[in-house]
Symmetry: C2
Subunit: 491 residues, 2 copies
């Protein structure tokens, strides 16, 4: 298979699709819209999971597991939730197959029809709140701080690997609190956890904002979002944290005995990130040569390739490399030594470039003599020689430098692609030429927001939390506005 990718400038979408396949991250399966996450892609997800899981536990959360199926009637219980989620779902109607009478294969056994259909969870608020009803009686049971790692299914019509798939993996946090203030604080805390994860691990600069009423999660009073910008100027929602008020507590009748002896509904939050983050990671950092991974999430941070002509040379190199591998591991650096004899060094170089390994070392006979190593960094493609004696210290510093550099580069691009506009003409002009986030005044109504989307395909990404108070006029209606919000075309 050719390792050459379509250039981003030629066809960004094609570049992305090819990269996901050629870097061995994921592929389509025999089931429409559902992907197979390949070992290399899954290793990135595992790294994400382990960092997020640690952050959740450090903020007091525990994991639990709730059923895959939800009774159909549960979706009708929270009025706005049903419109948002109960539509494009996988529906289980039967529980048995049988051999066809005519011997043609297996068929659904019509006798095994469920009394009530079961929905494969598109999100778990309903089944979880049905459970919380049994878990919460008194203020002593609160707060309830639970997270679930799970698969969910949403029957998307147009799917793309990682970005939009009928099944995806995610985590969903669901918490219950005694007061409104505490629940709001929790939603904000997790918003901040997501921001830290995106910036410090994924090296993706984030705009923290709130969603407009129109873009809120179905059933939420407030949705906090982290918005990222991809290299083609389109925005991507990378994670959301919802303040749900008492909506689900009321829908599922979850009350608690207060300290003062009263009885009140509890307050809720939910928050989630998905395997979509892998799509964001790819589209933020990668280049025409392939994937570029930030060291903090790379399955292998360093790969070492031996260059040799004879068995004897390979043996001598391997011996030297093994000592280096040990010292890397002692430093906590994830390293792989690729001594496969089935592939040539050039093939391996291309392979690891495509797979975005942050640092590649090469060691040949001359390096053995001179006690040097060739070091190539993936982000800038620069090479240099280093002494073997200082390799661990220097590569360790290099990995930090790459992590910092990737973030700085992405932030630079992002900052250059936030454009303030003051008229609708300008809005359309910027959207169709430069792209990126457009900072504009908006009159605060759902109607205007929808009209702008109809006219331009741009959506209101968020109301930035740090937006300045500023008098202005809505770019579409000319009505009053007191702060700028961000629009963009989005994934």
């Amino acid at each position: 298979m050719s390792k050459k990718l379509t250039k981003r400038s030629e066809d960004y979408s094609k570049w992305y699709n090819e990269l996901v396949i050629k870097a061995d991250l994921a592929e389509n399966s025999a089931v429409r819209g559902m992907m197979v996450i390949k070992p290399y892609g899954y290793a990135i997800w595992e790294k994400m999971q382990s960092e997020l899981d640690r952050m959740f536990k450090e903020t007091g959360h525990q994991n639990a597991y709730f059923p895959l199926f939800i009774p159909k009637s549960f979706f009708s219980k929270e009025a706005s939730h049903v419109d948002g989620f109960a539509k494009e779902c996988a529906v289980v109607t039967h529980y048995r197959l049988k051999n066809a009478d005519d011997g043609s294969g297996i068929v659904v056994d019509e006798k095994a029809k469920l009394e009530e259909e079961l929905i494969v969870r598109p999100t778990s608020e309903t089944i979880i709140w049905d459970t919380y009803k049994r878990w919460v009686q008194s203020y002593r049971d609160l707060p309830l701080l639970i997270n679930q790692w799970a698969n969910v299914v949403r029957w998307e019509m147009r799917t793309r690997l990682f970005l939009r798939t009928a099944e995806f993996l995610w985590q969903e946090g669901h918490t219950a609190h005694a007061t409104k203030e505490e629940a709001l604080e929790e939603a904000q805390k997790m918003h901040e956890v997501y921001t830290r994860f995106a910036e410090d691990f994924m090296a993706i600069p984030i705009i923290k904002g709130a969603k407009s009423e129109n873009e809120r999660f179905a059933g939420a009073l407030e949705t906090f979002t982290i918005e990222a910008l991809m290299q083609d100027g389109k925005a991507l929602q990378a994670g959301t944290s919802h303040f749900l008020g008492q909506n689900f507590a009321k829908a599922f009748d979850v009350k608690y005995a207060t300290k003062e002896g009263g009885l009140d509904y509890v307050w809720a939050t939910s928050w989630g990130v998905t395997t979509r983050l892998i799509g964001a990671l790819i589209m933020t950092h990668s280049d025409d040569q392939g994937l570029v991974l930030p060291p903090n999430l790379a399955p292998y941070q360093v790969v070492i390739v031996p260059i040799y002509k004879s068995e004897e040379q390979l043996k001598a190199i391997t011996e030297r490399v093994q000592a280096i591998v040990v010292s890397f591991r002692e430093k906590g650096i994830r390293v792989k030594y690729d001594d496969r004899t089935t592939h040539k060094p050039g093939w391996k170089f291309a392979e690891y470039e495509l797979k975005g390994v942050p640092v590649r070392l090469a060691m040949g006979p001359r390096d053995l003599e001179q006690a040097t190593v060739e070091v190539a960094r993936r982000d800038t493609l620069e090479k240099q020689n280093m002494n073997q004696s200082e390799i661990v210290t220097k590569v360790s510093a290099l990995l930090e430098d790459i992590q910092t550099n990737l973030f700085a580069k992405a932030k630079n691009y992002r900052d250059e692609h936030i454009t303030e506009v003051d008229s609708f003409e300008e809005f359309k002009e910027v959207l169709n030429t430069k792209g990126g986030f457009i900072s504009a005044h908006w009159d605060g109504t759902v109607e205007t927001e929808k009209r702008i989307k109809e006219l331009t395909k741009a959506t209101l990404r968020c109301i930035p939390l740090d937006a300045k108070e500023e008098e202005g006029k809505c770019i579409l209606t000319g009505n009053k506005s007191n702060k700028r919000v961000l629009f963009a075309k989005a994934y």
Copy 2:
């Protein structure tokens, strides 16, 4: 809620059900046969996962993720697999819901009927082998050593928490090899990994054996099993590893170019353990006071409870305890300090006894003066006082001792419950009085095995790998036999 459990001797089954609920491990959900795994139960599963995952990776395996749904037609491709798995399955027939015309709620949209029904995976051989067809071309692509952590659904009619549920969590390994020998070796290697995990972490003594043809996995040529014995004398299959021959490669047409330039079908294995292991863990070690957890899998190995009358005393105790907590953590001991003021010490003691925390420390004002701590071990319920200065070393040794003791106790019980019998009368007598494994001669036929099951409800658990060659006569038919096999009633 009363913490008192039904005694095992009174009603073992009732004891188990009560224990799972009262120790906060799991509960039934609103969906028939599907459980909610509560945080404490899930924490045990996470510990199991992390140890197993480490063992899998150390033996060269990588994780990946395959679709939740499998096209119905895939099940017909491997002849024996279809009979074993395609029956009691959840079937997805539609992909959309809509509001009912009469406003009565939401209904299935009949227009959104799938052309081919999708089955919620009961196991993933078929979808994975359909994928391997694309991944395997040459001997260079082999071996393929993949594991998946996932949820699966089997529509069980009679369910019990952890032991048999319609949805359960598991891992399923699926490997592909160039030769028969290598695949067989892999199946045996994972059999050994399961044995080590069961004995060293779960403290459950295991009999390693092979399944008879009748009890083999649907599609396997050989099924290796680890069989455990519960305290009520019933056996439990705790994990299986299958040598699948070329059955799935042939069904899904997975061939590879050999080193010699030929073309051949690959050889396969699959292996799995499930959340059922938590049921085995409970039933092996726990007692009439509640759960007993082996330290190697306990979410908390040590809990510390302060005993105080005044705020001042609590403050002084907390200060002393915090230093101890730090030194425990430095030693890698998982410790919890329960300084909740909402519950009394006696309540906490009962709680942690019920939840099986291996070691419980208590510190009161007198301990502060005398620099002592009260130490209670969960397995024997013995108490002693220790000096604070040696607490970390002594508790560390105590945890090891508890781990060893639990295994020894379980092994002693198990060994006492393997009974050799030489007649069918004796077989029935032992089965109905003493229980446990019955070691008996069997003529090797499926008919005899089935007849014994019909007559006694005992199943052939396994042919132990270390069974001695021994001339004998089948207990039922009197036909020739050359080794003893193990029968038992089983979960």
